[in-house]
Subunit: 335 residues, 2 copies
C-alpha cells in the first residue's frame, strides 16, 4: 500500500512558561515503514496529561526529555492497521506511548492490546489507562487510606483526582476534593459522591479544609503543589501521607519552584511526603486494571472525558490543562 | 530537712529570632515539696537540644509549648535526693524532663532509673538518651539504609549526626557528613570513621555531595533544613528516604520558613521525605538502648560531649547550638 500521510506535532523549542504553538512544528510525513516485530497504529484518541509539560524540559527526570525535533510524546489508543508482529492482527486495538501524530510504529513492548468490547476506547487512556493506574497505585499503595480516614485530593474533577476520591470512598474513607468553579464542585459531590468539594477559585481554601477535615487530613493526594500543598500540610493528622503526584501550579513557572514552607509539619506529625511515578508500577497494572474495570462495571466509579476534535488543535488544547478549562480527562480525537 | 535553694530558668517571653537572656528569668525558690509517688532529683547534667527552640514557640506541635512563667523544659540526668516513690531510693540516678533548674520533682512516669555503673552520667542524655534514640530510630526505622548505600547527615559532629553516621557504617552503608570547620570535619572522618565530611563553611556543598555520593544519596538525615536540604534533594537516588529530624537553620528565622524548592525531586525519584519525633518511639527505647550500649562497649560508637559549667550560663550556652559553636553533645553541668 502507499504509506498514508502522517501528521505529526514535533517539539522544536523548550518552552519557557506555558507552551506556545511556536514551540512545536506541525509536519506531514509518510507513515513509517515497519521493521520486523513492529505494528503500525492509527491513533484514535491521544491523551493530554500534565506530565507532558515536564517531558518538554531538559534535565534528568524519570524519563528522558523529548528531544528537539522529535514527535511530542503522548499516550494514545488506536487501531492496528498493519502488522509485522505475530501477536497483533489488523483491526486489533492497542494503547501505548504513540505520540501526538496520526500513525505510530511500535514494537511489541511498546503496545498493549486492549479489548474494545470491554469499554469505549477513550477509557483505555483514562480510567483504564495511565490516569487510572496513577490514582489506584498512588492512593492505595502510598496513601493507604483506612476506613473513616479523610482523603483530600486537588484537581478533583480531573482525570486522576476524580478517581482518587471515588476509590477512597470505595475503601471506606471520606473524600474531600478541591476543584475550580461551582459546576465542577457540584459534579464532584453530586456525581462522583465525594463528601465535600472546595471551590479553590471562590472559597477560603484553608477554612474549607479545616471545616471538612475536622480531625485533620490523613491522606493528601497532591496534583497541584503551591499554596494548596502548604494549606494541606498545615492541617495534616498524625502519621499522614502526602502523595506528590504532580505540581501543575509550578510546571509553567518561569521563576524558581516554590517549595512547601510548611514542610516541618511532617516533623511534628511524624508524617510522610512521597513522590510517585506510575511507570514504576507497570508490573502491577493487571491488578489495578482488574479492580478498576470491576468498579466501572458495577457503577462504583464514573469516568468523564473531555474530548477535543482534531490533532491540529494540539498546542491550544494542551493549554486547557494549565488554565483548568478542561472538565474531565482531556484527550484529542484524532480520527 | 530544710528545702534546698532551687535555681530555675523560667521562660518569660516568646523569643523572636535567637533567644536572649531577657526572654528568661533566673529565679531562686525552695526545692518543691514532694507529693506521694514523687521523687526529688538533683540535676547533674542538663541537656541542651535544638528542639528546645521549638518548645519556646506558641502553637500546635507534638508537645505543648512551654508556658510563660514556667521552668524551661529540658532533659536532664540527676540523683534522687528524696523519695516518696517505692521504686526509687535516695542515691539512685534517673533521667527525665527535669528542666533547667537545680531540683525537680517528678512522678514515676516522668523519671527513668539509670545505672551509673554502666556509663558516665553525661552519656545518659547523649548516646544513651534522646539524641541516641533519635539517631537510632530515625536512621534505622525510617531511613533503613542497606549495605553499600550512601547515607548523608548534616550537623555530623553534633549529638545526633555523629551517631547517625556511625550507625550507618555499622550497618554496612557509606556515611558522608556535613560539618562546619576543619577540626569538626577531621573529627568526623578520623575519629568517627565517616567515609567523607564536607565543610559547609568553606567547601562548595553541592560539588562535595556530587563527589562523595557518585550514585546519589539513598538516605539523607536532615538536621538543618534550608539550602543543604535542597542540595541533597537535587542528588537523591531512586527510592531515597529523607528523614526530617530538625531544621536548625530555620528555627530562629524571623521570616517565613523556606520550603525545599527541590521537593519535586521526590516525585521523579519515587522518593520519600518523612518527619520524625523520637517520643513516638518511647515504647521501643529498650531495643535502641540495648544496641547502643553494646556498640559503645565494643568501641564501634564514640561519643563526645561539650560540657559547660554552671546553670547560670544557660541562655548564652544554648546559643552555641545555633551558631554551631558546640563540638559534640551540648550540656550544662549543674552540680
Amino acid at each position: 500500500m502507499n504509506a498514508p500521510a502522517n501528521r505529526q506535532w514535533k517539539l522544536t523549542a523548550r518552552p519557557v512558561g506555558l507552551p506556545k504553538r511556536s514551540d512545536f512544528a506541525f509536519e506531514t510525513a509518510p507513515a513509517p515503514d515497519l521493521a520486523d516485530g513492529q505494528i503500525l497504529v492509527r491513533n484514535h484518541y491521544i491523551s493530554l496529561d500534565p506530565a507532558m509539560r515536564g517531558w518538554m524540559n531538559d534535565g534528568r527526570s524519570y524519563v528522558p526529555p523529548v528531544g528537539l525535533g522529535e514527535v511530542m510524546r503522548a499516550g494514545a489508543v488506536g487501531e492496528v492497521v498493519a502488522t509485522r508482529h505475530a501477536g497483533f492482527r489488523e483491526g486489533d486495538f492497542a494503547v501505548g506511548m504513540f505520540g501526538v501524530q496520526d500513525y505510530a510504529a511500535a514494537d511489541g513492548g511498546g503496545a498493549q492490546k486492549v479489548d474494545p468490547a470491554l469499554a469505549p476506547l477513550p477509557l483505555f487512556i483514562s480510567t483504564l489507562g495511565m490516569p487510572g493506574m496513577t490514582a489506584y497505585f498512588g492512593l492505595l499503595d502510598i496513601g493507604a487510606p483506612q476506613p473513616g480516614q479523610t482523603v483530600v485530593v486537588s484537581a478533583a474533577s480531573g482525570a486522576v483526582g476524580a478517581l482518587v476520591g471515588q476509590i477512597a470512598r470505595i475503601k471506606g474513607a471520606r473524600a474531600v476534593g478541591l476543584a475550580g468553579g461551582a459546576a465542577k464542585c457540584r459534579y464532584v459531590t453530586e456525581e462522583l459522591g465525594f463528601d465535600a468539594c472546595i471551590d479553590y477559585k471562590t472559597d477560603d481554601i484553608g477554612k474549607g479544609l479545616s471545616k471538612h477535615c475536622p480531625k485533620g487530613i490523613d491522606v493528601y493526594f497532591d496534583n497541584v503543589g503551591g499554596e494548596i500543598l502548604d494549606l494541606c500540610l498545615a492541617r495534616i493528622a498524625r502519621k499522614a501521607r502526602i502523595i506528590i503526584c504532580g505540581a501543575i501550579s509550578q510546571y509553567n513557572s518561569t521563576e524558581a519552584i516554590v517549595g512547601p514552607k510548611n514542610y516541618l509539619s511532617l516533623l511534628v506529625n511524624n508524617a510522610r511526603m512521597e513522590g510517585f511515578v506510575v511507570f514504576n508500577y507497570a508490573a502491577r497494572y493487571g491488578e489495578g486494571l482488574h479492580d478498576m474495570a470491576g468498579w466501572l462495571k458495577s457503577g462504583q466509579i464514573k469516568s468523564r472525558e473531555d474530548i477535543v476534535d482534531g490533532i491540529e488543535t494540539f498546542p491550544e488544547t494542551l493549554l486547557k490543562l494549565f488554565s483548568g478549562a478542561n472538565f474531565g480527562k482531556l484527550m484529542i480525537k484524532a480520527v
